[in-house]
């Protein structure tokens, strides 16, 4: 899946990371907090901060020890608990590390690692449906934040 953008959700003062699979129009919105959105936004816009941000440090750490991010997988999105797995290759062994989707996506964008989502977490909606869905949202429709 690709990160198509960040949408501000004024009702919750939070952001929605929109992931899409261009081939079959699968769409996955993920609610994240402000600082998590900023970590993803900097990577989307290819902005290099004057000092290393937290995910830049994460990337430096992995590079220093020759560990490679193979992929990240969004595995589950419940009401206020979001799950992802980061798959690492280190010294010919694969490691799977539990993380929040926001950290996994921020790291994937910095390391050019592919992002996947489990079938069961993908809400099948076309882009038109997404717009309609966003327009019709009421505050009570918004999920709890990933904080």
């Amino acid at each position: 899946m690709r990160v198509k953008g960040l949408i501000f959700d004024p009702y919750n003062n939070a952001y929605i990371v929109v992931l899409r699979d261009e081939e079959n129009s699968d769409m996955l919105p993920i609610w994240v907090g402000k600082s998590e959105a900023s970590a993803i936004g900097l990577a989307i816009e290819n902005v290099t901060a004057p000092r290393p941000m937290t995910h830049d440090l994460m990337k430096s750490f992995l590079e220093t020890f020759d560990a490679k991010v193979i992929s990240v997988v969004i595995t589950d999105l419940n009401e206020n608990t979001y799950f992802a797995k980061i798959h690492l290759m280190y010294e010919d062994s694969e490691y799977t590390v539990d993380s929040r989707p926001s950290d996994a996506i921020a790291l994937a964008l910095r390391t050019d690692a592919p992002i996947f989502a489990n079938e069961n977490v993908i809400k099948k909606q076309s882009s038109e449906e997404l717009e309609q869905w966003l327009e019709n949202l009421k505050p009570e429709d918004f999920g709890k934040l990933d904080t």
Partner: protein
């Protein structure tokens, strides 16, 4: 990326402890107050709200339902068998502090450039020591100290004890 900001091998390192994270509700920043073990040196470092909160969560040993970003770095280190040895605040230029995080694997130490806020958040979670070079403690900017002292006098701060 390995840093060029490593302390000289001969640099005198002063061990510090995070005493408190002070909330400045007016500017939405946090002041991380580090003190030397003998209490003769105080080093206040201004950080963003999110960075200050990450440090406070670690100080208060709050276990969040999901791993926060610094928990993830620690988890990476644990998975790879890498030890987080220490963090050092190595420099200050134009009021910006520079830090390194020292990791070790199979007896080899690697120093990585970091913001002090990330380094401190990581150090508390890993239970490793925080140091500043004697030189950094000497060169704390007067501007920051004055601002800090005036904030301590103000009534709009909420000190959080460790």
């Amino acid at each position: 990326m390995e840093t060029e900001n490593q302390p000289p091998a001969t640099a005198e390192l002063v061990p510090l402890t995070v005493k408190q994270v002070i909330e400045d509700s007016n500017t939405d920043t946090r002041i991380v107050v580090l003190k030397s073990d003998d209490a003769t040196d105080t080093l206040p470092i201004w950080v963003g709200a999110a960075e200050g909160n990450a440090i406070r969560l670690a100080m208060e040993r709050v276990v969040t339902p999901r791993p926060m970003s610094h928990d993830l770095i620690r988890s990476f280190a644990d998975h790879l068998g890498v030890k987080i040895e220490r963090v050092v605040i190595v420099d200050v230029k134009s009021s910006t502090y520079y830090a390194t995080v020292s990791f070790s694997s199979k007896g080899v130490q690697r120093d990585i450039d970091a913001r002090p806020s990330d380094a401190i958040a990581l150090a508390i979670r890993a239970g490793c020591r925080i140091f500043a070079t004697r030189d950094v403690l000497k060169r704390r900017t007067a501007v920051h100290l004055d601002a800090w002292l005036s904030k301590l006098d103000a009534n709009n701060i909420e000190p959080q004890q460790a």
